[in-house]
Amino acid sequence: MSARHLNLLGLALVGIIGLAVMWLTPRFAELDTVLDLTVYMIMAILALSLALIWGYGGILCFGQSAFFGLGAYTYAIAMFNMGESTVPLLLAIVLPAAFAALLGYFMFYGRISDVYLGVITLTVTLILFNSVNSTAGPEFHIGAARLGGFNGIPGIPPLNWPFNKTAPIDLEGMFYLSTGALLLTYFGLRLLLASQFGRIIVGIRENERRAELLGYDPRAYKLATFTIGGALAGFAGCLFANWGNFVSPTIFGLAQSAQIIIWVIVGGRGTLIGPVIGCIGIQWLSAALGANQPSGSSDFWSKIFANAPLILGVILIAFVLLVPKGLVPTLGDLGQMLLNGRRERKQRGLAPQQAE
């Protein structure tokens, strides 16, 4: 079986499994399982946004939660002011994308190296956290929406059918929407990465100087990748604000940023299915350990959340030291080794050594 066939088989498998989950879950599972799965799907979209910009674009962004939180807050604020969700949904995508574009302009056109890039994105996230956290007073409001500071914004109205205020989307509808959006994002990104644009950003990740000498401007391509990632994260944030009807500044927090990075590391950089698996697996694990509720929770959860850092920290250290490529690529390598084992053993003595 050639690589092309394997690729098509994988795509078909993802599609079938995705559609099966989407169709079967609400019919056979309890409502609270459906709710849990909804947030897994939303977070998986967030994981995909970082998988694109880090795994394929090679841009280490420690502040993906900034765009996520910005999307959630934008949706909440716009919703209180407009009461109809079509425009707020679009704003929640456009505004984080614009913010990503502005930040990306500073970083990529300043030709800041990888490591500093990580620190700057981290700093921006902290700025947002600090600023939003301190807006508790009634004097901080945008239109009809009070920002609420560390208390967050409760009671966010749910999404409705486009331009129809009287038809809000119910909990099951949210599940269909999130799962559908995740599948669309996955296949959309696969398409994007198979296009010329995708080839070029991977080329830039592998060797920026060479890509530049071949006539591609890495700054512009990185900026575009970063902006797409920001838009995706904002969209996930919008869905998340819908899911809990609540946002709070912890959505910008370091724990949230760390989680996104961990999903991608555990699943594997340079794959799309890896981060999705990593995201769902880690969230399921944390929930099973009773230690985690994704950010944006009240007092009760913040007490329990106190143990999540410990688990996440251990997972992060273990993967960096022991499985640096992540689960999916490592398993892929193992499978490849098993498949090719016999053939390679036969050919080893004869094969010419590859030149460096």
Partner: protein, 288 residues
């Protein structure tokens, strides 16, 4: 006039505390090119070490200036031997592993000490400046910063240890060829950096109190100070602290403390855009 004097003291204090919390990180980053994202947690551990030692009856000065640096220094060496040394030359992986370490330490301290703020009252009372009163402890923090930076300068400039450290920093292979053992130098450096962080965390503990997630408040500020400062450890830290500390304190004075922090972070982003190599990449190049 009194107000000007008071403001001057506060600006100096902002600069001194920035320099204190950054210098440990600057040494680790400058010498080893390791970005230690668990830096904030080293400061936090310093604070806890001082508070625990004080509550066991050790004098507050001894626990701040001796116990805390030793405890955190030992933790630093252990971390270097168990995690960091496998990752030299892999900058991004070091960042990720130390981030994991940071989460781990936060989780551990929360489990041990609980998620509450503990504090020790600042010794030394207050002093009178004309119509205003300010805490004398502020002056003590400034003095500690000056002495610490002076000591680092003296060690780096005039001792054999400093010579070896600077040599390894410039060219590790050449130093190894001359009989220096770079892994040992790295372990010691990491320990010294951690010890200085522990000292800073302990000295600032009476001002801010200590809680498990306090590292977050420190880490961004110390990072941008180190990166804003650039490659030279001492002159970089001092110049960047002076710039950012002044901006922070003046913005705080004019508006609110939160906006002061935002101004500091925003100034840092602009500075890195203008001077990607940091201040010492352009000015004070021959500094230490």
């Amino acid at each position: 006039m009194d107000l000007v004097a008071l403001l001057a003291i506060q600006v100096l204090y902002a600069i001194a505390s920035l320099a204190l919390i950054s210098v440990g990180l600057a040494i680790i980053f400058g010498m080893m090119r390791v970005i230690n994202l668990a830096h904030g947690e080293f400061l936090m551990l310093g604070g806890y070490a001082a508070i625990v030692a004080t509550s066991h009856g050790i004098s507050i000065w001894l626990s701040m200036l001796v116990v805390a640096p030793i405890v955190v220094g030992i933790i630093g060496v252990v971390v270097e031997r168990t995690i960091i040394r496998f990752l030299y030359g892999r900058m991004i992986d070091t960042m990720l592993a130390t981030w994991g370490l940071s989460l781990l330490l936060v989780g551990l301290t929360t489990a041990i000490f609980g998620n509450t703020t503990v504090g020790i009252s600042a010794p030394l009372g207050s002093i009178q400046i004309g119509a205003y009163r300010t805490s004398a402890y502020t002056l003590f923090v400034i003095a500690v910063a000056v002495v610490t930076l002076g000591a680092i300068f003296a060690v780096m400039r005039w001792t054999r240890l400093g010579l070896i450290a600077r040599g390894t920093m410039q060219n590790a292979n050449m130093a190894a060829a001359l009989g220096v053992n770079p892994p040992r130098v790295y372990a010691v450096t990491f320990g010294v950096g951690a010890a200085l962080s522990g000292l800073a965390g302990a000295v600032l503990a009476p001002v801010s109190g200590v809680f498990p997630t306090i590292g977050v408040a420190y880490v961004a500020k110390s990072f941008i100070t180190v990166i804003g400062g650039g490659a030279a450890i001492l002159s970089g830290t001092v110049s960047a602290s002076a710039l950012f500390g002044a901006i922070n304190q003046i913005a705080t004075f004019v508006t609110t403390p939160v906006f002061g922090e935002v101004a500091l972070l925003a100034a840092a982003i602009v500075l890195i855009r203008l001077l990607p190599q940091g201040i010492t990449g352009r000015f004070f190049r021959r500094g230490l």
